[in-house]
């Protein structure tokens, strides 16, 4: 087959490079979703730690007499 003229060949070359770019962009988008999920996990972990820290003094031995007094 003879070589395609530049205006015709340009479309195919552009299509090939756009396919490559699209693959990379789709991958980056998937990684962004995963990053969001990791951020969500970190938020959940921070909440667990905050809840523990907020609840910890109540479980200390010196906090018990009040509970004993009520019982």
């Amino acid at each position: 087959m003879p070589a395609l003229p530049l205006d015709e060949a340009g479309k195919y070359v552009a299509a090939a490079y756009i396919v490559f770019l699209a693959l990379i962009l789709i991958y980056v988008a998937i990684m962004a979703v995963r990053l969001a999920r990791i951020q969500q996990d970190i938020r959940e972990l921070a909440e667990i730690v905050e809840d523990r820290e907020a609840g910890a003094p109540a479980r200390e031995p010196h906090a018990l007499p009040e509970e004993h007094a009520r019982s």
Binding site: A3, A9, Y12, A16, Y17, F20, L45
Partner: protein, 243 residues
């Protein structure tokens, strides 16, 4: 650490991909036979080479896993094959576009190079379903490693078989680079290196993301009083869930 050197690899892959594109469009001369359409060569061939190399790398990590039982090797094998499949899709699509422009057909079934690459790609397309079908993580990792080793050995054999076959239209790249003029050979070399570095960077990204998620999962389970070795999710997954 699984994602070590990520920053340097990211910078290197950006610079190399930009250099490869610059050389392709502003330095490499037009091919006397195919003209401008031959510019796809600098994208399609490196994609195919790196995809096949990644499949073999997956097999090597599979061997390491079977020898040591180290779950990080299973993760590396999984990520290498996963990424090679993406690069394989790129190689198939760009090859098909090139074939349409150069030969007038999107696909030629009597062309050994094309069909053999498709066979390898379809073989590896079974890897994820295989992993997904096995619930027990130990068995999943072991069976996947055996698959990766067997299929990884098939890649060079397939490559040699195709080399020995008579081909009418598909050019031979690695045995005929002497025919490439200096600027074309240099551009091709830079494009291959750029693709290898890009592949390595993406593999490192994937490994870092998966390892971070596993660490977070372990931390979450520890804080909520569950066993750290419990599975990351209750959903079945093709990806390794714990190291």
């Amino acid at each position: 650490m699984l994602g070590r050197g990520l920053k340097s690899f990211s910078i290197a892959s950006t610079l190399l991909v930009v250099a490869a594109l610059g050389l392709t469009f502003f330095y490499a001369p037009l091919d006397a036979d195919q003209g401008f359409i031959q510019k796809i060569f600098y994208l399609h061939v490196p994609l195919a080479i790196v995809a096949l190399g990644g499949f073999v790398t997956g097999g090597i990590h599979g061997i390491k896993f079977l020898r040591s039982g180290d779950r990080r090797q299973d993760l590396r094998s999984y990520v290498a094959i996963h990424m090679s499949l993406i690069f394989g899709v790129g190689a198939l699509l760009t090859g098909s576009i090139w074939a349409r422009a150069a030969w007038g057909h999107w696909w030629l079934w009597d062309e050994p190079t094309l069909v053999s690459f498709l066979v390898v790609f379809l073989l590896y397309a079974c890897y994820q379903p295989l992993r997904f079908s096995i619930e027990d993580p130990e068995r999943q990792a072991r069976y996947a490693a055996v698959f990766a080793v067997t299929a990884g050995a098939f890649v060079p054999l397939n490559f040699l078989a195709v080399r020995m076959a008579e081909s009418l239209v598909h050019p031979r790249t690695l045995s005929s680079t002497d025919n490439l003029p200096g600027p074309m050979a240099l551009t091709f070399l830079v494009a291959v290196i750029a693709m290898i570095v890009l592949f390595t960077t993406l593999v490192k990204y994937e490994l870092a993301a998966k390892s971070t998620r596993m660490q977070l999962g372990r931390l979450k389970r520890r804080l909520s009083g569950e066993a750290p070795s419990a599975p990351l999710t209750t959903r079945r997954s093709a990806a390794p869930q714990n190291l």
